[in-house]
């Protein structure tokens, strides 16, 4: 009997290696769990009944192109779209023997922090189904936390891996920009989009990162890793210098229970041998959100120009010519959030506003990178809450786009600088998981894994949602 709520991907690999279970039995256990709990969680949009692979199975956010398997990016405009090629990450997982369990729900085109922007209905948090799982990779987070997948891939532009991982009590890594191929990933904001793992343990996170990372000739923004990925083993933090950026830890809107859980984790780090010190990122938090919400929509407005009803996806019936076809198809196919961001981005890039908005935001981005670089002269790792709040209720923020945007206020700053950052569960507040964000310099994933692994062991967080124990 395989307990899909508790078993890690690494443990599942062990069972396979020792031939205690077959790949088919392992898959069956997850497919049974999906049949049982996906109706209440709506973590998956598509479940793949048959998929080859002799290792553990995996779930992909529906932004990952999978040959022969519908890929919608959570949008009506891509409903029915079946890729004729595999993304590089899908191909690498296939090569590693990982069979596909299915495609997970997400905010449309990865724009959102709750999955409520999915054209196919929201996902629900396994800890409390009246609450959101976070987003935009909320389906992947709910699938892993709810025992519907041993691990999953998500994408992160402003916090879309880290924030749902935090809200669902699991581990999520947004890798260094350029370390994981985006070939075959539905694009949102190309100078920010990254693919990364959502897992139950830090070791699983490192194992999956090892599988998907590395240069890809099909994506010229990728680079070779300077060092091989190490699976963390050390359980102390001796010699590690941890910085606590004031602005990230004292930001307006951080719930008291979240602050307490993070402070406890920092004390634990001290007891494990880390040197703890305060530091500042004076403008990165205050200006990070405005900077992000100019750059990401600007790039999105360009990337989403391809959905025009001509080559793939929805085409609306329309009287008239080609322009009318474009305009009506895009009206009918996009939901509110993509429309808002296309409008915002087009405005920010339009004549007369480019310098004041997009150009200025690119300069702010340099300022943020410099502030982090200064902090990393004194520290190896920076820590903060991942999300200012625990999982919020469905519908709580949908009426006010700006309130929803603030869900990413703490995850955005490192993303702007292309830095790797990882969220691990560090405790509960009001019975709901709290995420701890660890941020490192570019290509410092091994350090992040080591720090997160030691903390994970010391914290001893039970990733099984209380109501499912």
């Amino acid at each position: 009997m395989i307990d899909t709520l508790r078993i890690t991907a690494e443990e599942a690999m062990g069972l396979l290696e020792r031939r205690e279970v077959s790949p088919a039995e392992l898959r069956r256990a997850y497919l049974d769990a999906i049949a049982e709990r996906n109706p209440e969680l709506h973590a998956y949009l598509t479940v793949t009944a048959d998929s080859p692979g002799d290792s553990v199975p995996i779930a992909f956010k529906d932004v990952v192109s999978t040959k022969g398997v519908e890929t919608t990016a959570g949008s009506k405009i891509l409903k029915g779209y079946v890729p004729v090629f595999d993304s590089t990450v899908a191909a690498r997982c296939k090569d590693a023997g990982l069979s596909l369990l299915g495609k997970t729900n997400m905010d449309e085109f990865a724009m959102g922090s709750s999955t409520e922007n999915s054209a196919f209905g929201p996902s629900h948090n396994p800890w409390d189904t009246d609450r959101v799982p976070g987003g935009s990779s909320g389906g992947s987070a709910a699938a892993v936390a709810g025992g519907l997948a041993p691990w999953a891939l998500g994408s992160d532009t402003g916090g879309s891996i880290k924030q749902p991982a935090a809200l669902c009590g699991i581990v999520g890594l947004r890798p260094t920009y350029g370390t994981v191929s985006r070939y075959g990933i539905v694009a949102f904001a190309s100078s920010l989009d990254q693919i990364g793992p959502l897992t139950r343990t830090v070791r699983d996170c490192a194992l999956l990162y090892r599988i998907v990372s590395g240069r890809d000739p099909c994506d010229t923004t990728t680079v070779e890793l300077p060092l091989p990925v190490e699976i963390p083993e050390v359980e102390d933090l001796k010699g590690l210098r941890i910085g606590v950026p004031r602005e990230l830890n004292e930001a307006e809107g951080i719930e008291p229970g979240v602050g307490v859980a993070v402070e406890n984790a920092i004390e634990l780090a001290r007891s494990l041998g880390a040197e703890i010190g305060a530091c500042e990122l004076p403008r990165s938090v205050e200006f990070g959100m405005p900077c992000y919400y100019l750059i990401a929509p600007a790039e999105a407005s360009s990337n989403l120009a391809r959905y025009d009803g001509v080559r793939y996806g929805l085409r609306s019936d329309v009287e008239g010519g080609l322009t009318e076809l474009y305009e009506r198809t895009r009206h009918d196919g996009f939901g509110d959030e993509p429309k808002r961001r296309i409008m915002l981005g087009t405005y920010a890039l339009s004549a007369g506003y480019y310098e004041a908005y997009y150009g200025q935001a690119q300069k702010v981005r340099t300022v943020i990178s410099r502030e982090f670089a200064a902090a990393f002269e004194r520290f190896d790792v920076l820590v903060s809450p991942t999300s200012p709040t625990v999982a919020f209720r469905l519908g709580e923020k949908t009426a006010n786009p700006l309130a929803m945007y603030l869900a990413d206020v703490l995850t955005i700053p490192p993303n702007m600088a292309g830095l790797p950052s990882l969220s691990i569960p560090c405790g509960l507040s009001d019975g709901l998981p709290v995420g701890l964000q660890l941020i490192g310099p570019q290509f410092s994933e091994n350090t992040l894994f080591r720090a997160a692994h030691a903390l994970e062991r010391a914290i001893g967080f039970d990733t099984v949602p209380e109501r499912l124990r």
Partner: protein, 93 residues
Amino acid sequence: MAITRDDVLHVARLARLELSDEEVERFGGQLSAILDAVGKVSELDLDDVPPTSHPLDLVNVFGEDVPRPCLSREEALANAPDPEDGFFGVPPV
């Protein structure tokens, strides 16, 4: 910063996006509020700061010019909503 109805319609036209009257009204108000928030970037004096367009220092990444298999015509048209004689069909331009 208040976005006028004409601004909304102009931007929607640039983006080839049809909007209903209700959407023009609603997005206009929301965009004004969002632009107020993001306009904060103009508070900083950054004349001497270079822009960042890409977080890694990569310049001119070249690939070997090696032919490799590409999509067949059938594959390229597999998801087309209205393929016609091996081409993408569109209404009169």
